[in-house]
C-alpha cells in the first residue's frame, strides 16, 4: 500500500492536479489554436503551390521544388530558431505564436504540395485528354476533372502527415509559446514533481488518440474503395 501511495504522490498528486488543472486546460486551447491555424494555412498554401506547379512554368516550378525540398529536409526546430532569433536582427519583430504558426505552416505546405502534386500526377493522362477534347480549357480541366480525383487519393497520406506536423506544436515550448509542453514542464520544474507532466501527457492523449484513430479509419476507408 505504501508503494501505491508513493506512486500516486510522484505521478498524480491530487493537490497539484487541482492547482494546475486550469493552466493545462488553457495550454491545451493554445495548442489547438496553433494546430488549427497551421492546418488551414499549411494545407491551403500547399494546394495553391501544387496548382501553380501544374501550369509548368519552368522558373516558377524550380522555386516551388526548391522550397518544398528545403522545408522537407530541415528539422522544424532549425527553422524555428532561425526565424525567432534571426528576424529581430533585421528589424522584423514577430510574436512567438506567429513564428510557430508561420514555420509549421511552411513545413506543412511543403509536404502537402508534394502530396497534392503526386495526386495530380496519378490522374491518368486519358482524363486530361478526354476533358480537353470535349472543349474544356486547361484550368477548367484542372479544377473540375483532375483535382477532384487527385484530392481523393491524397486524403490518407495528407491526414497522416498533418498529424505528424501538428504534434510539432510542442516545439513552441522552446521559444516560449504557452502550449501544453511549455506549461507542463515549467510547472514540473517549479514544484519538483512530475504530476504536471503526467497531466500534459493526458492532455496530448485526449487530443491526439482520437485524431490518430480517425487517421487510421480514413486510411482504411479510402484504400478499401480503391481496391
Amino acid at each position: 500500500m505504501g508503494t501505491t501511495n508513493q506512486f500516486i504522490d510522484t505521478f498524480f498528486r491530487s493537490d497539484l492536479v487541482a492547482r494546475y488543472f486550469d493552466d493545462i486546460a488553457q495550454a491545451t486551447l493554445v495548442t489547438i489554436e496553433v494546430a488549427a491555424c497551421v492546418i488551414v494555412t499549411g494545407i491551403g498554401f500547399g494546394l495553391l503551390l501544387a496548382i501553380v506547379r501544374s501550369y509548368k512554368v519552368r522558373a516558377v516550378n524550380f522555386v516551388i521544388v526548391a522550397f518544398s525540398d528545403i522545408c522537407r529536409s530541415l528539422p522544424p526546430l532549425v527553422l524555428i530558431l532561425l526565424t525567432y532569433f534571426g528576424l529581430p536582427g533585421l528589424g522584423i519583430d514577430l510574436s512567438n505564436f506567429c513564428v510557430l504558426w508561420i514555420v509549421l505552416s511552411l513545413v506543412l505546405a511543403a509536404f502537402s504540395e508534394e502530396i497534392f502534386w503526386s495526386g495530380i500526377l496519378s490522374v491518368r493522362r486519358g482524363q486530361w485528354e478526354a476533358a480537353r477534347s470535349t472543349g474544356l480549357g486547361y484550368s477548367t480541366t484542372l479544377f473540375f476533372v483532375v483535382l477532384p480525383q487527385a484530392i481523393r487519393i491524397t486524403v490518407p497520406p495528407l491526414t497522416n502527415r498533418t498529424i505528424v506536423i501538428i504534434k510539432n506544436t510542442a516545439l513552441g515550448s522552446v521559444i516560449g509559446v504557452p502550449e501544453i509542453l511549455n506549461v507542463a514542464s515549467t510547472a514540473e520544474s517549479f514544484v519538483g514533481n512530475i504530476t504536471p507532466l503526467t497531466m500534459g501527457a493526458l492532455a496530448y492523449l485526449a487530443l491526439f488518440i482520437p485524431i490518430t484513430v480517425l487517421g487510421r479509419w480514413i486510411e482504411a476507408q479510402f484504400s478499401w474503395t480503391r481496391a
Binding site: S73, V78, L81, G86, S173, I180
Partner: protein, 220 residues
Amino acid sequence: MNLAHQYFDYQTMINSLPILWKGLKMTLLICAAVIPLGLLGGLVVALGRQTRLTAVRITVIALIDLFRALPPLFLLILLYAGLPFMGVRLSPFSCVCVAFLLNTSAYYGEVYRAGLESVGRGQREAARSTGLSYMQTMLFVVLPQAIRNVLPDLVSNTVEVVKLTSLASVVALPELLYSADMARAATLNSSPIVLAAAIYLAILWPIIRLASRLEHRLGH
C-alpha cells in the same frame, strides 16, 4: 546588408566550424544508434501487431497509439524528467535514444504493417504449402516483398529520424543544432544556425530525392 550580416557572416561561420563538427559527430552517433534499432523495433512491432495472441496484439496496438499520440519532444522531456523519479538513472544520450526509439519504432512499425498487408495472402499459403516453416515463409518470401513495396516510406521515415535528432538540443545533448545554438548565443548572430541548416540539407536532401525517385519507380 543587414541580412547578409545576420544570416551569412563568413567569419562567424568559420569560427563556429570546430564546434559544429563536434556536434555533427554526436548527431551521427545518435542516428547510428536509433536508426538500426528503430528498423528492428519496427519489425517486431509490425509482427506483434499481426499475431494471433490477442493480448499481445492489443498491447502492441495500444503502445503504438500511445507513442504516436505523444509529440516526440514531449516524450523526451517526460523521460528526461520522469525517469529519475522512478529510480532509473540514464545518461542524457541513452535517454534521448530511448525516447526516439519508442517514437520511431511505432512509425517504422506502421510502415512495415502497410508492407506486410501489401503482400497477397496466396504468397504465404503457397510458401507454407511447399513445406516452409512460418519463420522461413516470413524471412524468405513475405518480408523481401513487403520491404520492397514500402522502401520509399522506410527511406522517408529515416529522414524523419535524422530530423528528430535535433530535438536532443532541448535537453542539452551537444548535437549539431545544440552546438549551433551555443555559437549563436555566444556571437548573437544566426550564421552558425544557417551553417547547421546547410549541413542538414547536405545530408538529407539527396535522401529525399532518392525517396521520391524510388516512389516514382514503384509507380505509386
